[in-house]
Structures are given as C-alpha cells and as structure tokens.
C-alpha cells in the first residue's frame, strides 16, 4: 500500500464518519429524502462559488454551497406550507430544478469550469491525494483530508455539545419544546450540518455516495439497535468498513471508487436486512409465523372460556365456526394439548385449570395494559419455550 492509497482510504473513512452522524438523525427523523434533495440542489451553489473563487476547495465555496442547501430546505418547507401540493411533491419539485440549473451552468461554461457532470455524481476520490495543502512551503497532506477533517471535527463537537437536545427533539418534539429547546433551531442546525457535510464530501465522493453514506449505514444500524448511542457507533463502523472495503473492490475492478463503496454499502444493508437478529426479514417472517400460531392459540382458549355450550366446544367447531384451515386448527389443538391447557373428552374440548388461569390472565393483560405485547405474557407463562 502506497501513501496515496492510504490517504484515499483515510479520506473515504472520514467522509463516511462525517456522513453517518447527521445521517443517523435524518433517518430517525424521517427526513432521509432531504439529504437526497440537498445533495442535488447544492450544485448551483458550488458552480456559482466556483465562478467567484476559482477554487473548488475554497471555504467561501463551501459556505455558499451549504447556503444553497439551507435554501433548498426553506424552499421545500415554504412550498409545503402553501398547501398547493403534497409534502413529498415539494421535495421532488425543488431539487431537480436546482440541480438542472447547476448542470446547465456547467455545460454553458464548460471551458471555464473544471467540473464535469460525472464528477458531480461520482466525485474524484482517486485524484484527491494529488491536490495538496501547502502551508508555508510545507506539504501537510491532501486538501480534501483537511476539509473533511475540519467538518468532522465541527460535527463531532456539535454532536457532543447538543447530544441531549438532539435526542429529545428527535424522539419527542413536544417534550423538547416544553423543556425549552426550540425544535426549529435543532432542525435548522441539523440541516446546516448536513449541508456542510454534503458539500465537503461532494468533491471527494459525489452527490449520490453522500446520500448513500448518510442513509445506508444508519438504516442498517437501525435494524440492529434502537439505542441512539449504539446506533451512532454502528453507523460509523459500517461507514468506515464500506469505505475501506469499497476502495479495494474498486481497485480490483478498476472502476469508480464511489460506485464501489455504494455497492459495498448496498450489500451490507442487504445482509443486515436479511439476517438482523430481531428486525431482519428472516427473523420477522419466522416470528410472524410463530405469533400467528400463538395468537390463534390464545383466541382458541378464549373461545373455550367464553362458551360453556358443548356444541361450541366440539373439535369440529374449530373448522366450521372459527374458520381456520384444517392444518392450523390441528396445530393449535396440539400445542394446547402439549402445554396442558386443554383436555379432550369425546371430541369436546375443555380448559384445564392451567388453561383457565392462563386465559384470564391473558385477557387482563390485553385489556388493562394496552401496549403490552403478547411477548411479555410469554415470559410470565414460559408457555412457548421448548
């Protein structure tokens, strides 16, 4: 590994971390698409900034572009407020329009602007190490590294300083207001950080990867934990992992680094989506199957408790009246028998004493404690274990 390679991986990792932090909050606040909008609509800001400064890495350009990001958010919210179109339409209208303006500006000034549209979408991470920051004649590393480093530092400082406020305003807006933090300030603060990060990362990894790096690690982490701190750490880890692995995949395929990092992110998300222990799709499907049986069982027990008439408790009644398929009815019957909940005499089903207590308790749980899941009850009865 030569030093340029190390630098590229370092830049990619820093970008990943800088994106993962605001991304986590965007995902939690159901505003993921805003990051897509910002990443597209800052383009005219960047182009105008470039006309003024003639330097893609100038701080002024970053400020201008970030300002465009904020303008996007304000514009979207303004259109939403007019009620002329639905909320999501407002986002969908604003960013393509701004992005188009940017693309046209680049095309019309192709000779003056060293930006091409491919670079806008994909970034030029591979060339990042060649643009050095030289202070007083000493080379202190690639410019991109410094820019994203500074942005990350600011983001981290803000995160640590306002962690409590961010957390409260994300999970309970009402509480946040009553505690005296203005949700609006937190909201626009987060939007500003997202915009600045997007601009800073834009040059290195392009518009689309910024979106991927903000949303995918956070979404994957959200499938694994609901604890905010753990989610932040996991997003960061996922981000760095994809950045480094993505770089080597690109190296091996001789293809775009940004595209390759996104692909690794995609595979990572797919893996988590499929295999996450509780929220993954396989676990969900398995649990749904389990729960279907369990709820059926409880339904069945309740039915027995409600009806003393013999004909209502006949084995065949399960099929005829409760309207279950034969297979499920048998399964439920077997489960209830195995757990000593019922006994069957002459094809008439009755609750055992254990079944009676269980059913009464189950009713109490459901009626008195609305939010209690069946899960809690399972712990009480050790019914479905083994």
């Amino acid at each position: 590994m030569n030093s340029a390679q190390i630098e590229i991986q370092l830049i990619a990792s820093l970008v990943a971390v800088a994106c993962a932090i605001p991304g986590t909050f965007l995902v939690l606040r159901k505003m993921a698409m805003i990051s897509d909008a910002i990443s597209h609509s800052i383009l005219p800001g960047i182009v105008i900034g470039f006309f003024i400064t003639h330097d893609l890495n100038s701080p002024l350009l970053i400020v201008l572009a970030a300002l465009t990001g904020i303008i996007t958010v304000v514009l979207v919210e303004y259109i939403q407020k007019t009620g002329l179109v639905k909320e999501d339409t407002a986002i969908g209208l604003v960013f393509p329009a701004l992005f188009s303006i940017g693309v046209i500006m680049i095309a019309k000034n192709a000779n003056d602007v060293h930006l091409d549209v491919d670079a806008v979408l994909l970034g030029e991470l591979a060339f990042a190490p060649f643009d050095r920051l030289i202070i007083a004649g000493t080379d202190i590393g690639p410019k991109a590294l410094w820019i994203i480093g500074v942005i990350l530092l600011i983001t981290l400082t803000l995160l640590i300083a306002f962690f409590k406020e961010l957390k409260v305003s994300t999970f309970d807006k009402g509480l946040a207001t009553s505690l005296g933090f203005s949700p609006a300030i937190i909201h626009y603060g987060l939007m500003s950080v997202s915009s600045v990060t997007t601009v800073g990362a834009f040059d290195a990894v392009g518009a689309i990867l910024v979106v991927a790096l903000m949303i995918a690690p956070a979404a994957a982490a959200y499938l694994l934990t609901t604890n905010l701190k753990k989610m932040l750490v996991l997003s960061v880890v996922f981000g760095i992992f994809s950045a480094i692995l993505g770089y080597w995949v690109a190296h091996w395929l001789d293809a775009s680094i940004a595209g390759s990092i996104t692909t690794v992110l995609g595979l990572l998300f797919l893996a988590v989506y499929l295999f996450a222990p509780n929220k993954g799709i396989i676990a969900v499907l398995y649990r749904e199957k389990q729960q279907r049986t369990e709820v059926s069982l409880i339904t069945f027990l309740l039915h027995l408790k409600n009806h003393s008439e013999v004909e209502e408790r006949h084995v065949n009644h399960l099929r005829e009246h409760i309207n279950w398929q034969k297979v499920r009815a048998k399964k439920v019957l077997d489960l209830a028998l195995k757990n000593n909940m019922i006994h069957i005499d002459n094809n008439v089903v009755s609750l055992t004493e254990k079944g009676e207590t269980f059913t009464s308790k189950a009713i109490d749980y459901i009626i008195t404690n609305e939010d209690a899941q069946i899960e809690d009850m399972k712990d009480d009865f050790f019914l479905f274990r083994g």
Binding site: V295, L302, H303, H321, I322, I363
Partner: protein, 245 residues
C-alpha cells in the same frame, strides 16, 4: 316478536402486528335497529366494522349478512368511513364523490350514466347538499363533508349501513340532520351501525347499543343495558370522567 338477524359475527378475532385488538367477538345485530358501538379509545370499535366489511383480515371468525357470507351479500352493505381517512384536497366535486356510491353496482369498467346521476342528486337533496353539488370538496365545511359521505352511502341503497364516527368534527345542525336521516333509515327497515363516542347522546339517538373493549362487554336494547354496570365494565371505574370529555 321474532326479528331477523341482519349481521352475525362469529368468534371474530383481529390482531394488529399479532397483538389482538378484538377477541372472540360474537355479535348478532337484529334487523331495523339503530345501533351505537361504544368503548374507550383503542377498544377496537373501528376495527370491528372494518373487519366486518373485509377491509381488515381477521385471524379467526366469520361474518354473515342475512345468513349468507359477507362476500355474497356485499351489495346489501354501505360504509361511511371516518372523515379524516381521505384527502379532501382531491380534485373532485361533491356530486362526483356521491356518484362513487354507484360504482359498486356498476362493477368493472362500466361508466355511470344518467340513472346513476339522478340517484346521486336525490341523495344530495336528502342530506341538504344539493346547492353544493359542484363545489370542490375541499371548499366544504367539516359538516358538509360528512353529509357528502352520508349521501354516498345512501346512493348505495343498501340494507345495512356502517358508519365510523359520523359526528366527529361536525356542527350541531349537521349532527341533528344526520341523526334524523339515520332514524328515517331505521323506520324504513334498514339497519344502521354507528361507531360513536359521545356517551351522553346514546339514549337519545340510538335504540340498540354494543359495549366493546377488546372483548364484547354487552349488546342489546339501550333501555335494557345502557347502565352504570356496563359502562363501568367497559370504561373502568372512571367512566364518568370520560363522559365529560
């Protein structure tokens, strides 16, 4: 007097995310009653009518309408959803919405014609909304929107009407107008089932009531079963507080 059973619910259990919200409901609603379904928030009132109407899939149980499965008797049933369930900024007029009530009898592809339009206009007249027939629906007040929904159900010319909170967010005049129409329907031998949450008006408006809180607590004539005992069973000891709310 032996009354026919209009709606029969057998062992109905419904779960959201596998948590039961309705448990083993058995319910027989006789023909030609005006029935309120009452119960606290989250008791499953809307869920009950949505399951009867096949909008939600129950995990167990069966529904029959006049002794036949619901699927075969669909044309006998009309539904008034909660007003908040649709987008009132939708580009359509009051008359258009009422016309939708005829779509079921038309079936696929066939377009509504003069006959359907006439029926829709009559229904609008009945709810006192004829002057507003060409209004865009967002330009109607809450009460007027509710009347439009009622007119849409009337057009269906059904035997059984299910209504989800028809008095929510309507003005006093509309409330009286609606209840008068419902009483007329009952007189004409129709069965009307209303999810209702204003306990004070139950004895005045309805002649039949079902208490619901996940399980069915009681069902029967208002004069027989609308009492403190059932209210306490349904709402808990603090039911008087919920009346005041």
């Amino acid at each position: 007097m032996e009354q026919k059973i209009a709606v029969k619910v057998d062992d109905l259990t419904v779960a959201y995310n596998y948590k039961p919200v309705l448990w083993d409901i058995d319910l027989e609603i006789p023909e030609s009653v005006l029935m309120a379904i009452v119960g606290p928030n989250g008791a499953g009132k809307s869920t009950l009518i949505k399951s009867i109407l096949g909008i939600l899939n129950p995990i167990a149980g069966s529904i029959s309408i006049y002794d036949k499965p619901y699927d075969k008797q669909r044309q006998l049933v009309a539904y008034v959803p909660q007003k908040g369930s649709v987008d009132w900024d939708f580009p359509t007029t009051a008359l258009d919405v009422v016309m939708m009530g005829t779509y079921g009898s038309l079936g696929w592809i066939k377009r509504p014609g003069q006959k359907q339009k006439k029926a829709a206009l009559e229904a609008l007249e009945k709810v006192g909304m004829l002057p507003f027939k060409n209004r865009q629906i967002s330009q109607l007040s809450g009460g007027q929107q509710q009347r439009i929904f009622l007119a849409r159900a009337l057009v269906q010319n059904a035997s059984i009407y299910f209504m989800d909170e028809p008095f929510q967010g309507v003005d006093a005049t509309t409330e009286i107008a609606i209840i008068n129409i419902l009483k007329e329907l009952r007189k004409a031998g129709k069965t009307v089932i209303v999810v209702h949450h204003d306990l004070q008006t139950v004895p005045e408006y309805f002649d039949w009531v079902t208490f619901l809180n996940v399980k069915k607590i009681a069902t029967g004539p208002v004069k027989d079963i609308f009492n403190d005992d059932n209210l306490t069973k349904t709402y808990g000891i603090n039911y008087k507080v919920s009346i005041q709310e």
